[in-house]
């Protein structure tokens, strides 16, 4: 048997039961790898359930810095009896199978191409831990200790992590460290040199942080000056508002200790966005966070905010649809519903972050955009980005940056106006009009906000010409919007390359790896990562510059491709769809396979057919 061997480059998969405390033990392991300076990418693959169902935690350790899913796993920590057989069967040949040997494996576990590491975890627990309630939790810590021995990890990194984690409750640190040692010693004694997968400290990561996208998004809303959040709990968006709530409680209090933020848990998603819209109308920066089902429910209100021109921010953390779909699995399938949410002619600017760093930045910027453009802005993240920890650049706040509150007339400006103000009067000819907050001036600036058709002075109208004027102006505003959105990230790795690839969001990690893998096979690709909608001309130029353009995304119907075709009026043959529909984060091997398949088979099309 050829045992898998590598240093700082392998995938380990933990199979646990949810609600057993495994998540914190597993993330302790991932964090230890991170603190050893090695790029690491943990992905929690969990059920929509609180206790008792299978959950997996996959950690990719990769000193080359590839952070997408690789596909396959080299080491299994199989603690869940329910999935033991599957975890055993799917392990890559040459891999290692760590299991609880308190109960021996039956004779059907007969693979000869893997290495078994049986540790009697339950038995060890029963012998060493007096409090039966703590046993299931500490069992997880014991296997983490064992892993440290098997992978030759710096043990102090783990003990330091425990000490740090329990800084406020040092009494809890001792039993945890004790269990780490038990596991470490057991593995050292019984399985010395059995494992050829190693993790050695290497300062590849220096300034990076390990953060989940939702915390970064919530923090971005704090820095962006949001004061009102209406929300309704829904996986995977819940932690966005929870982060906003926690950070504002800590960092946003007045001198009397009162809060400079109002967080309201609403009765449903309709009320959640209604609260945000009411607050935004009244001059506060306000947002809500939700996922696909919530976007469906919020669509009516999004149309109102579009038509009445209210600057609200929505954070959509996508999960698998349609309908309830898979609430705890990731997908990029809300693109079209967000871009065109609501009935009538509507469209909304989208921001497409690909890392927690961008989640923070874009969340903060979304409030500037919404207020400058007086329209809803949707930040479209996903479960993988939002709920998993990612290695990311340290968050940055530009000290010189000042909030762009958009065109708002205050008391003195209203007093001294030398033109006749109308709420929807396009004074500057950029499609964006001047608004006023309630309560500003005793005589001037009041108007009636409505979702019904209105003229320049916010008066109800059923005159088709006036209606058309309003819709045309909103379209002009859309052109202004185009100039304000973040530009795509274009990488022309090879100017002679005939093929290009377009992608966005969490597909980026796997794509970075796929591009290198394909290049090694002689297939060179230029890349374009979309960061926003509406699309700029640079995107069209990129499409026109390549014979073949792939659009890689994580949904069945290639929604971004549809959006590109529609917005640029492209011949659909110009864009080759690479849809990924497996409801776990996309992996580089899939992308390589799909692109190779197309480059070898697809006929060349003519360039420059966009009209």
């Amino acid at each position: 048997m050829n045992k898998l061997a590598s240093v700082n480059d392998f995938v380990i998969r933990f199979a646990n039961m949810n609600g057993s405390g495994s998540a914190s033990a597993n993330s302790l392991f991932a964090k230890a790898v991170f603190r050893m300076g090695i790029p690491v990418s943990p992905k929690n693959i969990f059920p929509s359930n609180i206790q008792g169902l299978p959950t997996w935690y996959e950690v990719r350790i990769c000193e080359h810095g590839y952070l997408g899913r690789r596909g396959g796993y080299d080491f299994a920590v199989a603690i869940n009896g329910q999935t033991l057989k599957r975890d055993y069967t799917d392990l890559l040949p040459g891999g290692y199978f760590l299991y609880d040997a308190t109960r021996p494996l039956d004779q059907t576990y007969d693979r000869e191409d893997i290495t078994l590491i049986g540790i009697p975890l339950t038995k060890i627990c029963n012998q060493n831990i007096e409090n039966p309630k703590l046993r299931p939790l500490l069992k997880n810590i014991i296997y983490v200790g064992a892993l440290a021995a098997l992978f030759d990890m710096d043990f102090s990194v783990l003990t330091d992590a425990i000490t740090k984690q329990f800084a406020k409750k040092p009494k809890l640190a001792a039993p945890n460290i004790n269990c780490l040692e038990i596991g470490y010693n057991y593995a050292s004694e019984h399985f010395k040199d059995i494992c050829d997968l190693k993790i050695t400290s290497k300062k590849i990561l220096d300034r990076h942080i390990l953060m989940d996208g939702n915390a970064a998004t919530g923090l971005g809303a704090v820095y962006g000056g949001a004061t009102v959040a209406g929300w309704y709990p829904i996986t995977p968006s819940t932690s966005v508002v929870e982060a906003f709530d926690t950070f504002t409680k800590k960092y946003r209090l007045d001198d009397a200790g009162k809060r400079r933020a109002a967080v309201i848990q609403a009765e449903d998603e309709l009320a959640a966005i209604g609260i945000a819209i009411g607050a935004a109308w009244n001059g506060a920066r306000a947002f809500t966070a939700t996922s696909g089902p919530g976007v469906s429910l919020m669509s009516e209100f999004l149309g109102l905010a579009y038509f009445a021109e209210i600057p609200v921010v929505l954070m959509d953390i996508q999960r698998v649809g349609p309908s309830t779909g898979m609430p705890t699995r990731t997908q990029q399938s809300d693109i079209l519903t967000c871009a065109y949410a609501s009935h009538g002619d509507t469209k909304h600017p989208l921001l497409l972050p690909a890392s927690p760093f961008e989640c923070f930045d874009m969340a903060a910027d979304s409030f500037d955009l919404a207020e400058a453009l007086q329209t809803p802005v949707i930040l479209v993240s996903d479960l993988d980005l939002g709920m998993n920890d990612h290695i990311t650049q340290p968050l940055k706040w530009d000290h010189a940056k000042t909030y762009n509150r958009g065109k708002v007339l205050d008391h003195d400006q209203l007093e001294n106006l030398d033109w006749t103000w109308g709420r929807y009067l396009d004074k500057d000819k950029d499609g964006v009009c001047y608004r006023t907050y309630p309560g500003t001036h005793p005589e001037k600036g009041a108007y009636f906000t409505r979702g019904s058709s209105h003229d320049e002075f916010a008066r109800y109208t059923e005159d088709g010409r006036v209606y058309k004027r309003c819709m045309d102006r909103l379209d002009k505003k859309w052109q202004t919007t185009r100039t304000m959105m973040p530009a795509p990230e274009i990488r022309m790795t090879d100017h002679k390359a005939l093929a290009g690839v377009i992608f966005y969001g969490t597909t980026a990690d796997a794509m970075n790896e796929a591009v290198d893998l394909l290049a090694a096979q002689g297939c060179h690709l230029n890349t374009l990562r979309l960061k926003a909608f509406p699309f700029q001309d640079a995107i069209l130029e990129f499409i026109q510059a390549h014979d073949q353009v792939f659009v890689v995304e994580q949904n069945r119907d290639s929604q971004m491709r549809t959006l590109l075709i529609n917005e640029f009026n492209l011949d659909p043959a110009r864009l080759v769809p690479i849809p990924y529909v497996e409801a776990i984060p996309i992996d580089a091997a899939f992308i390589c396979r799909s692109i190779r398949h197309n480059t070898e088979q697809a006929p060349r099309t003519d360039k420059g057919d966009a009209s």
Partner: protein
């Protein structure tokens, strides 16, 4: 347009303490049907705000969809207004209130807007005790879509369509009491002397104040067989204690004999004097209010007046412990924790 206000105004119109005349509280001409009860309610709102000397621009009017929700265009023309989507006035009012706690929020809704599509938002705004006046213009039918029964139509009541409503009616006042509302009153659009003090008291109450106003739909639901017709309501209305609203600054000696009135002091020092009749109950007692409503319903009577008051409740801002400064006036300096804090936060992710 069905009702035009005369353009002519007496040159010596009386002004309130702020120097505004009643006209400063009016809005556009109404486009509702002639005789619509809603116009009387609009006028009662105008009178209440004028007489209380509230600066018009410090009021925000918010409504949903329907005949009722059109009325904010017909009163308080100097105030900002927001005609939201159907049944969603409470959430928009909630958000607006969170952004600026210093304005007066008058929410206007109808029975379709509140008791059907907006029932969820109505009860939850009540539970949260949002500091607002919530006026329901309640006519038991959907006027704008030509007279379908609403959820407040009494069982057995028949509109112009002729078919008696087969379903149980929702009593919004009783629901509000159950949801913990601190102020619940029912008025009748045909009795402005009774209605205006109720609206004034609702404005002065800190927290959620419901004024459910029976407001006959003259076009679709004013038939002899309807329990929301002018005739029926006049014949079957029974008022609880008559209410006098006494603003703090105009405290007067009691016009009524001691012992016949209960006095309730509101948040800002204003007073409500309740003049008891034999049939009344203790309006500060939640259970008594529900019993009185149920008893009257059983007897086919409509109980009006102040039905319940509990003025010691915390409003949403108190509950959320928000700063006294309106959130919409906070500056970037107060909102953005800055780079040092960001570095500190980043460290917790290492």
């Amino acid at each position: 347009m069905s009702s035009h206000r005369p353009v002519f105004r007496h040159p010596n119109l009386p002004a309130n303490d702020l120097g505004y005349t009643r006209r400063d509280y009016e809005g556009l001409d109404s486009t509702l049907c002639a005789g619509c009860g809603h116009d009387s309610i609009s006028n009662a709102i105008i009178s209440a705000c004028f007489e209380l000397s509230i600066a018009p621009h410090r009021i925000a009017k918010i409504s949903g969809i329907g005949c009722s929700s059109k009325t904010p265009a017909y009163f308080l023309g100097k105030s900002h207004g927001f005609n939201a989507v159907h049944g969603r006035m409470p959430s928009v009012a909630t958000g607006a209130n969170m952004a600026n706690r210093d304005l007066l929020y008058i929410g206007v809704s109808g029975d379709g807007d509140t008791a059907s599509i907006g029932m969820g938002q109505f009860v939850h705004a009540t539970r949260r005790n949002i500091n607002m006046v919530y006026i329901v213009m309640n006519n038991g039918c959907y006027g704008l879509t030509k007279g379908q029964d609403s959820a407040t139509a009494d069982k057995g009541s028949a509109s112009r369509k002729g078919r008696p409503s087969p379903f149980e009616a929702i009593d919004l006042c009783e629901t509000a009491v159950q949801m913990g509302a601190g102020f619940v009153a029912r008025g009748f659009s045909g009795d402005k002397d009774h209605l205006i003090p109720l609206i004034k008291a609702a404005i002065k109450h800190k927290g959620f104040a419901l004024v459910d106003v029976i407001s006959p739909c003259v076009t679709f639901n004013n038939t002899a067989t309807s329990t929301k017709s002018y005739h029926w309501v006049r014949d079957h209305m029974e008022a609880t204690a008559a209410v006098d609203f006494v603003p703090m600054e105009k405290e007067i000696t009691a016009e009524y004999q001691q012992g016949s009135a209960t006095t309730i002091t509101l948040h800002d020092g204003s007073r409500l004097d309740l003049h008891k009749s034999d049939s009344t109950f203790d309006v500060t007692d939640r259970q008594a209010a529900i019993k009185a409503l149920e008893d009257h319903r059983e007897q086919g009577q409509i109980l009006t007046g102040l039905l319940h008051i509990n003025h010691g409740l915390e409003d949403t801002h108190d509950i959320l412990d928000t700063t006294a400064t309106p959130l919409n006036t906070l500056t970037q300096k107060e909102l953005c924790p800055g780079n040092e804090v960001l570095a500190e936060i980043a460290n917790t992710y290492r």
